[in-house]
């Protein structure tokens, strides 16, 4: 087949090709050290905290350097419209992978409530399991199973802190949208103020969630050890909380960039990517609020 170079193209402006970089390698080495340290710790093999601490610090440093590098490349105008699309697509697919990660835990919750607990109580074709092993077990939710693992516990009422947290997060999705409109209209100061408000809402959410966890452990006897209810409750809300933490850190860094004068009204994908992520975290929370707390 015939091929001919597109007429207007010039060699170097066409594609953004980054220089060789040692960041990814160091990042992996640090990640490996961290995980090796953690697995040794879990199995009581004494390696001490060094691999964990050093690994974590190096990781944080490299991530910081990497993103700073990207910000500088972007601000110095090295990114074409094509690179911009690359980041947009990349972020969308990344969020999709996060959705699937949560799907695994929502799936576990569904399975426990709709299948395993009813089966243990003798429903479906599983009558024998029930009558032979656990004849008194009934299908109720919340449940810590026929062996009542972890002992009696109470659940967190949805209408206290969780409701408040829902309001906080939904509001924060609105404030970050205001911030987005502000940057698009060139009002940098307004944008920064809205971002600060969003960060404050996120941080308050985290504070309340920590509070809720402490209450669950100390007053409700609801722990990771509380059978399948405790397992799904803490892993779902816990992973969500980690994502809120990450999102908050991301918002702090782009607010810092706004203060340094980064981003333009027409080009600010670093900002938008974080906003997408924040909306995603928000939507997951709504799912949690409905399926974990209310139903």
């Amino acid at each position: 087949m015939a091929t001919h170079a597109a007429p207007h193209a010039s060699a170097n402006a066409r594609y953004f090709v980054p220089a060789p970089s040692a960041w990814p390698f160091i990042l992996t080495a640090a990640l490996g050290s961290l995980l090796y340290g953690v697995s040794a710790y879990l199995e009581d093999r004494n390696l001490g905290p060094l691999p964990i601490v050093v690994g974590a610090l190096v990781m944080v440093y490299i991530i910081f350097r990497w993103f700073r590098g990207i910000a500088l490349e972007s601000e110095s105008g090295q990114y074409s419209a094509q690179v911009d699309r690359t980041y947009r697509l990349g972020m969308s697919w990344f969020i999709f992978s996060e959705v699937m990660f949560f799907a695994a835990f929502f799936g576990a919750l569904y399975y426990a409530r709709e299948l395993s607990v009813p089966w243990l109580s003798g429903e479906g074709a599983k009558a024998l399991t029930n009558s032979v092993l656990w004849p008194n077990f009934e299908n109720t939710w919340p449940s810590n199973g026929p062996a009542k693992i972890g002992g009696h516990f109470e659940t967190v009422s949805p209408w206290g802190l969780p409701l408040l947290n829902t309001v906080l997060l939904l509001t924060s999705s609105v404030t970050i949208t205001f911030a987005h409109h502000a940057i698009k209209e060139g009002h940098r100061r307004a944008c920064i103020l809205w971002m600060l408000a969003t960060i404050a809402l996120g941080a308050t959410f985290l504070y309340f969630q920590a509070h809720e966890y402490i209450e669950a452990y100390h007053e409700l006897n609801l722990t990771l050890n509380s059978g399948v209810y405790g397992s799904t409750f803490f892993l779902l809300t816990g992973f969500h909380g980690m994502h809120v933490t990450l999102g908050t850190i991301m918002m702090i860094s782009i607010t810092g960039r706004l203060m340094f004068g980064h981003f333009k009204p027409e080009r600010h994908f670093g900002f938008e990517g974080v906003a997408w992520y924040w909306h995603f975290v928000d939507v997951v929370w709504v799912g949690l609020f409905i399926f974990v707390y209310i139903l």
């Binding site: 087949m1 697509l89 576990a108 399975y111």
Partner: protein, 517 residues
């Protein structure tokens, strides 16, 4: 330092391929340990505990270290060349995705030297058995987490490259099929690797943090793990075969000197297979006691996959029909693929029949089935693809005579290895057991001999590829269009291809097809 810091798709593709080469060797040695033990009934060389470690690590190494990195390596090399751009969209992320692999496998294989040895619960990691592992357990889990990061970043990179970096005029339905199949594979990877990460995370918390996901006493269910695992696991097997389909669909038209028969039906068939792969997972669980409605649903949905797969096989046959065929090494591997993969497909249909699977399940019939689709399936396509493109990569021709010998010996020995396993399996020999009843001895001895010969035959390939890659002196130089019937952008550049293939994007005209013509 060049190799550590490189962000170039060709360098990284080369690294991926070398790495997978090394892992095939490691995993292959493990399979020889297994086969040696199975040469005779009774315990010969290794104790059962070590046997279990060998089958577990053999599988993890072959799947995550051999086949998957090999396909990523091929995608690294070929996708930018086939769609006409300079590199992948995210070159630094590409470097990260590769360098995770050696670290993850160092972690995984280091478990062999720990007290208690490596993971021994089978690659499917079923609880409660896997939770009884010792020091190897968390390392295995974390290695899988790292491999997941590598696959997801690699897949995002490939999707974004294909969606965003195509040369002007390269519309979606002009893309070569290798690009199409990788686009869909990458989508599968992004969808299911996080699910695997979630599943193994639950194992970790069940063991160390007191959760009860897979513990019936706490209201959970070990079978829940199987559901989540196979929701990942079945798409995973298509992750290992869709790129193979792409390679075969590239090679056959070249050597049949005809346009690929039914290009768009190939694309739609690939997409249907990918979609169906999400709704068939419980065919791995027919015997664990799922409800009858489940048995029926998963049986029929599984058999449905045979339809698009059949479309593909018939398209390959129709492409060859009345073509002016020649049989260079890549073509031999492609034709070998079509025959032997189809055998694996047929045994798959047998396994999909829920009532008879009660007999076949966990027998050597299953081992025979999945090795037919993995070895003369996935691996033949990888080898064929490398023979096909290595002149373009290195600028020299491999030795055709040795290549042909390599094919014929591989094809014969692989059948000697795995065909008898159908018989012992149907007769009731269970998998994952180091000992067996004496009546299975003959077939097992044949199988072991085949495996050793297969392994030895691979050194023909090692020699051939090493000559091309490292010791090029005296090798015949390759032309730009290496194969007479080859079509596509990768053949428009010189051999070896320049470091950044297309500094300026080529233009693909309306009347031209970029895929094999």
């Amino acid at each position: 330092m060049r190799w550590i810091k490189t962000t170039n798709h060709k360098d990284l593709g080369t690294l991926y391929l070398w790495f997978s080469f090394a892992m095939f060797f490691v995993g292959g040695l493990m399979s020889l340990v297994i086969r040696a033990e199975l040469f005779q009934p009774g315990l010969q060389f290794i104790d059962p505990e070590f046997y279990n470690q060998m089958i577990t690590l053999h599988a993890l190494v072959m799947i995550f270290g051999g086949v998957m990195p090999a396909f990523v390596g091929l995608a690294n090399w070929m996708v930018p060349m086939m769609i006409g751009c300079s590199d992948l969209a995210l070159p630094r992320v590409n470097n990260w995705g590769f360098w995770i692999l050696p670290f993850a496998f160092a972690m995984l294989l280091s478990t062999l030297f720990l007290p208690g040895g490596g993971p021994a619960g089978g690659w499917t990691l079923y609880p409660p058995l896997v939770l009884q592992g010792g020091a190897s357990f968390p390392l295995t889990i974390f290695a899988i987490h790292m491999l997941g990061i590598s696959s997801i970043t690699g897949a995002i990179n490939i999707v974004v490259t294909i969606m965003n970096m195509r040369a002007p005029g390269m519309t979606l339905l002009k893309m070569p099929l290798f690009v199409w199949t990788w686009l869909i594979t990458a989508y599968l990877l992004i969808a299911v690797m996080p699910v695997l990460a979630g599943a193994v995370t639950m194992l970790l918390t069940d063991k160390y943090f007191g959760t009860s996901f897979f513990n019936a006493a706490g209201g959970g269910d070990p079978v829940m793990f199987e559901h989540i695992f196979w929701f990942f696991g079945h798409p995973e097997v298509y992750i290992m075969i869709l790129p193979a389909f792409g390679i075969i669909s590239t090679i056959i038209p070249t050597f049949a000197r005809k346009q690929l028969f039914g290009y768009s039906s190939m694309v739609y068939a690939t997409a249907s297979i990918a979609f169906l792969s999400f709704i068939v997972w419980a065919h791995h669980m027919f015997t664990v006691g799922i409800p009858l409605a489940g048995e029926l649903f998963f049986m029929f949905s599984t058999m449905l996959i045979a339809v698009p797969t059949g479309v593909k096989v018939f398209n390959w046959l129709a492409t060859m029909w009345r073509g002016s065929m020649t049989f260079e090494t890549p073509m031999l591997f492609a034709i070998g693929f079509v025959f032997l993969f189809t055998i694996g497909g047929f045994s798959g249909i047998m396994l999909a029949l829920a009532p008879v699977d009660f007999q076949y399940h966990n027998s050597y019939f299953v081992v025979a089935h999945f090795h037919y689709v993995l070895v003369p399936g996935a691996i033949f396509s990888i080898i064929g693809g490398i023979y096909y493109w290595i002149p373009k990569w290195t600028g020299v021709m491999y030795n055709e005579t040795l290549g042909k010998w390599h094919f014929w010996l591989s094809a014969i020995f692989i059948n000697i290895t795995f065909f008898p396993q159908h018989f012992v399996g149907l007769a009731g020999m269970p998998r994952r057991i180091p000992d067996y009843a004496v009546q299975f001895t003959d077939f097992n001895q044949i199988s072991t001999i085949g495996a050793f010969l297969y392994f030895i035959a691979q050194f023909l390939m090692v020699y051939n590829f090493l000559r091309c890659a490292l010791f090029r002196k005296g090798m015949a130089p390759a032309k730009a269009v290496v194969w007479e019937g080859a079509h596509g952008l990768e053949w428009t550049v010189p051999s070896p291809a320049p470091y950044h293939t297309f500094e300026d994007p080529p233009h693909v005209g309306d009347d031209e097809t970029a895929h094999a013509h």
